[in-house]
């Protein structure tokens, strides 16, 4: 039995080691099988360098028609499974065709790689970066090894960041004025603001602020839109009276947010909204949704 399994076993071990692998920051990434793994973190314009070592199984000769390493940026639509779209593809040839008898190490480097999009794991779409080593062979399938990595890009503090202020209401029923201190928040930001009740004729039970993510994929008639509520944050308990002003302070750090992604390679969008919801005693919901922009601020520490 062992022998038979051995027949399907890869004839060699391939490992990809990054030059700064020990010092580079690792972040968790959810693999396709659902398990979490730690992968290195990069940002655009960085050099990605390291070495690939190939070690044939003890005592066996490995015949190949060439060894290469690719850096791929892929967008994968789940409704179009199996169909990857590579928006970035860089290749380095590591070896010419020949035979391998023992472990061999190949250095590689991709310098100042343009990686404009961030890694993203959504509901209908996935954007990933991967290093792919291929040992090409005749007659039998190629031997392939992948190394995922994550890209995050940082944005400076926006120069213009207005507050969001709006008066809304239902005539003779409910009039409120709300204010969020900014329109652009970074991922660890805190949303401050207040809701001012101008007129209250309904019996409000509570009020909450939701952070919602709207992911739209595809284009034209085959656009898929998924909305997720990431945060449900109770702002108020009980019924306010006219003139009452309720403070908002929502820390974004506990929630798994990503920056806002607009028109990623014409394939998808990820947008964030703040949804203010008032619930009355009959559980009717009154809400007002406002888009906010989320960005990734370089962590100073």
């Amino acid at each position: 039995m062992n022998y038979i399994i051995g027949a399907f076993k890869s004839p060699c071990n391939i490992s990809i080691t990054l030059a700064d692998g020990r010092t580079r920051k690792q972040v968790p990434l959810k693999k396709e099988n659902g398990q979490m793994t730690k992968v290195p973190l990069f940002q655009s314009q960085e050099n990605i360098a390291g070495e690939v070592s190939i070690e044939p199984i003890q005592g066996k000769k490995l015949e190949h028609t060439g060894v290469k390493i690719e850096l791929l940026g892929q967008i994968e639509m789940y409704f179009d499974r199996g169909n990857f779209y590579d928006f970035t593809s860089l290749v380095r040839e590591l070896d010419v065709p020949g035979d391998l008898y023992e472990k061999k190490t190949y250095p590689f480097e991709f310098s100042t790689v343009e990686m404009p999009y961030e890694s993203y794991n959504g509901i209908n779409v996935r954007l990933r970066y991967v290093l792919k080593v291929t040992v090409s062979r005749n007659y039998v399938s190629n031997i392939v090894e992948y190394q995922d990595f994550v890209v995050r890009n940082y944005t400076p503090v926006p120069s213009i960041n207005n507050s969001i202020k709006m008066e809304v209401g239902i005539e003779d029923c409910l009039h409120i004025e709300f204010e969020y201190n900014k329109s652009k928040y970074h991922l660890k930001d805190v949303i401050l603001g207040k809701i001012y009740f101008l007129l209250v004729r309904i019996k409000i039970k509570n009020m909450e602020l939701e952070v919602r993510r709207r992911e739209s994929t595809g284009s034209g008639p085959s656009t898929y839109v998924e909305t997720e509520t990431l945060a449900k944050f109770e702002l108020m308990d009980g019924a306010p009276v006219r003139g009452e002003s309720i403070p908002i302070r929502l820390f974004l750090s506990p929630y798994e947010l990503t920056p806002t992604y607009r028109n990623i390679n014409n394939k998808f969008n990820v947008k964030y909204y703040l949804n203010l919801v008032l619930v009355d005693e009959e559980d009717r919901r009154y809400f007002k949704q406002q888009e906010i922009t989320i960005y990734r601020l370089q962590e100073t520490s």
Partner: protein, 763 residues
């Protein structure tokens, strides 16, 4: 159905407690293993039990207290956590990640408390943040408890003067600001509670709206101390000096009180203000405090509030004489008086009892603070009269009670009826009392006089006093006579009698005037009263007579109004009035008294006249044999002491008395009376009657015509009587008789004048 509601509530409470305990258990485990994240998670879940809307405030409190205890442990943990290096700022953020607001804010307050203690941020910033964030809970009950928790955890961390949290950036102003804000918000929530229906209770249609409202009001008052606690905290802040109190604290508190427009809250909070802040502050801010009163809702029980205030101020004034100038300086009286006027004006629907009790409080205040200002007292009474004017007598028993209190206060204070008599409005207030109470009041007045043994020394005062107690002196219109309790009546009239003795003036002329006034009044009293009131008057007059008698020399002269003669004339007429009662026995006694007094004044004719009157009375009015016996003895006794009568007059009277004595119904009575009469003769030394012979009379029936033959006859009679079988032998009588005989024998043997006299008697 109602009991079902209560049972449900018990069930819900039990569920709440169970949930709370379970999460508390997990929380403890997390605390023990220093697992901050889990500790926060379970504590938030534990606190989620407080999100219930189904419990009444009472039950909710139970749940709250349990959570409170658990939060103390959590606070300890946070404190240790910061010592272990966890940044308090991070902790402060971390607890705010909780999705539900109520657990979030409880946790925030708990961490906030540690935050202030750590002094990593100025206390005022943390406090301000906490009190602002708590706005998120608008549910009245939950909000009240949350803010009460905030108040509880922060009260030892206020940047008060001398507190360790006071610093450059933190001043007492911040502490005050924080407490005031929390107070304002809590009061708003509390007021709003009345509009809040608990769904579980509200749905049961079996309870009427009125009942529902009542229930809510009850629940509200259960929570009032949560609100009032803030004022208490304020009063404990040492840094609040008078200026700050005047400029910030009181105006802000009053603004909230006035603006909340809620009866229950206004009453409670005004009371709180008065109770928690120091008296000297009240005194200095009197105008402001009083200014708020007319702005309160018309249904608020301001009178109690004001009464409390005046009570406190009175006590303050009484505490030390040094503070009195302050009262004068701020014109406390006129301010209070004005305020009361305004309140009464503003609250049209206030029952009479309300306004009167206000005046009572004001009066008490005045008496304590300005005992020297009688005009103030009269002013208060005057205001009360004004309020009552145009109204019939007061029927309401409570109002009556208050008026009595109003009238009693000056008496108690001054212990001098003279003061009360000076108050022109005093009787006018009394006029508003119903007859029964009027009498009670009159008795109170008299008792006051008695207690203090204060003399009323002028006729004017007496006149005024009688005006006050006229309820006792005569029948007022409409008093149903049959309703009178006899004992009460006697009691009342006796007190009037005692009162009459309190009238005294050294000047006989004035005294006579007093007596005339008294006489004038008591004669209006009708038959039933006279028996009680005339005797004291008579004796009082007789006292005067005796006084005059002492200074005889001075009073000679026709122009002197106060001569004994005149007085006796007056007395005579007064006693005559008793005949209409009729009270002949009493009249008789009084005549005799007068006669005796006349005797002492050497007025023979007057004395004779009195005796004549007495005899006429005896003859015509006294029919009862026992009464006759008593009367005759009195007559004899008095007569015996008379020494001014000439022989003729005396004989007439003596013989009359003896004659009456002999006509008494029973033999022993006759005997005793006749024996008594013998004194009369002895006093005249007539016939040299001796003791022994009178003893003779004492034992035997006899005749006052004492001659030796009569005695002889008597002795024979006695002998026969004693020897006859029908009389039981009496050894002492026998012995005595024997002694008497022996005595006669002895006198014979002795010879001389006496011997000759006795010679005629044969034993």
């Amino acid at each position: 159905m109602i009991t079902d509601g209560i049972e449900d509530e018990e069930k819900w409470l039990a569920e709440g407690i169970a949930g709370l305990q379970q999460n508390a258990f997990y929380m403890h485990r997390s605390l023990d293993s220093n697992n901050l994240r889990d500790a926060l998670k379970y504590s938030a879940q534990m606190l989620s039990e407080l999100r219930t809307s189904r419990l009444s405030p009472h039950k909710y409190y139970d749940l709250y207290m349990r959570a409170f205890d658990e939060l103390r442990k959590l606070e300890m943990f946070f404190k240790e956590e910061t010592k272990r290096g966890c940044s308090i700022i991070d902790l402060y953020e971390l607890v705010q990640h909780a999705g539900n607001i109520l657990p979030r804010l409880y946790l925030l307050c708990t961490v906030g408390s540690v935050y202030i203690k750590s002094k990593e941020a100025p206390a005022k910033d943390v406090l301000k943040d906490l009190v602002e964030m708590c706005r998120g809970v608008q549910h009245p009950v939950r909000g009240l408890f949350l803010r009460s928790y905030l108040s509880q955890v922060s009260r030892d961390k206020l940047p008060d003067i001398g507190s360790e949290y006071e610093g450059d950036a933190d001043t007492v102003t911040d502490a005050v600001e924080f407490v005031l804000q929390n107070f304002t918000e809590m009061n708003k929530l509390w007021v709003r509670m009345q509009h809040q229906l608990r769904p579980a209770i509200g749905l049961s249609g079996l309870q009427g709206p009125a009942r529902e409202k009542e229930k809510r009001e009850k629940e509200r008052s259960e929570l009032r101390d949560l609100v009032g606690k803030n004022l208490h905290v304020l009063s404990q802040i040492e840094g609040i000096d008078l200026d700050m109190y005047k400029d910030t604290v009181l105006p802000r508190v009053l603004e909230q009180v006035v603006n909340c427009k809620d009866e229950l809250a206004q009453y409670y909070l005004m009371d709180c203000i008065i109770q928690v802040f120091p008296d000297e502050y009240h005194l200095q801010t009197l105008e402001m405090l009083l200014g708020a009163c007319p702005q309160l809702q018309p249904t608020v029980d301001i009178k109690t509030v004001l009464s409390q205030l005046m009570e406190r101020l009175s006590n303050y004034a009484a505490s030390s004489a040094e503070v009195l100038p302050e009262f004068l300086q701020v014109e406390a009286f006129s301010k209070l008086s004005n305020a009361i006027g305004k309140v009464i004006e503003a609250q049209v629907d206030m029952p009479v009892v309300g306004s009167i009790s206000l005046y009572v409080s004001l009066l008490t205040f005045t008496l304590r603070v300005h005992p020297d200002r009688l005009d103030y007292v009269d002013q208060v009474l005057g205001a009360c009269v004004k309020k009552l004017s145009g109204k019939a007598k007061i029927e309401d028993s409570k109002a009556t009670k208050q008026i009595v209190a109003l009238l009693s206060a000056p008496l108690e204070k001054y212990n001098d009826i003279g003061i009360a008599l000076k108050l022109s409005n005093y009787p006018r207030v009394m006029d508003h009392l119903d007859n029964g109470t009027n009498k009670v009041m009159a008795v109170v007045i008299i008792q006051s006089i008695m207690k203090n043994t204060s003399c009323i020394s002028t006729a004017d005062k007496v006149e005024a006093l009688f005006e006050l107690i006229k309820g006792l002196i005569k029948d007022l219109d409409g008093t149903p006579v049959d309703e009178l309790d006899e004992e009460d009546f006697k009691e009342e009239q006796n007190s009037v009698g005692r009162l009459i003795h309190m009238f005294y003036n050294d000047d006989p002329e004035e005294m006579l005037k007093i007596i005339s006034v008294v006489r004038k009044h008591i004669l209006t009293g009708g038959p039933t009263r006279l028996a009680f009131t005339v005797p004291p008057l008579i004796f009082s007059a007789l006292k005067l007579v005796r006084r005059l008698q002492g200074q005889d020399g001075d009073v000679i002269g026709e122009d002197m109004p106060a001569t004994p003669k005149k007085i006796f004339q007056l007395l005579h007429q007064t006693i005559e009035a008793l005949l209409s009662v009729p009270a002949p026995e009493l009249a008789l006694r009084l005549y005799l008294q007068c006669a005796e007094a006349a005797n002492d004044c050497d007025l023979e004719l007057v004395a004779y006249e009195f005796f004549t009157q007495a005899f006429i009375l005896y003859e015509e009015e006294i029919a009862d044999s026992k009464a006759q016996v008593t009367a005759i003895h009195l007559i004899i006794g008095t007569l015996q002491r008379m020494n001014i009568f000439g022989v003729e007059n005396r004989d007439t009277l003596t013989h009359k008395a003896t004659g009456y004595s002999a006509k008494l119904l029973k033999k022993p009575d006759q005997c005793k009376a006749v024996y008594a009469c013998s004194h009369l003769f002895w006093a005249d030394d007539q016939d040299g009657i001796k003791d022994g012979e009178r003893y003779l009379y004492f034992f035997e029936k006899g005749n006052p015509q004492i001659t030796s033959s009569v005695i002889q006859g008597l002795i024979e009679l006695i002998t026969t009587e004693m020897q006859s079988d029908n009389s039981t032998p009496d050894p002492s009588a026998d012995a005595f008789f024997a002694t008497t005989l022996r005595y006669i024998e002895f006198q014979k043997q002795k010879g001389g004048v006496m011997g000759e006299k006795y010679e005629a008697i044969k034993v």
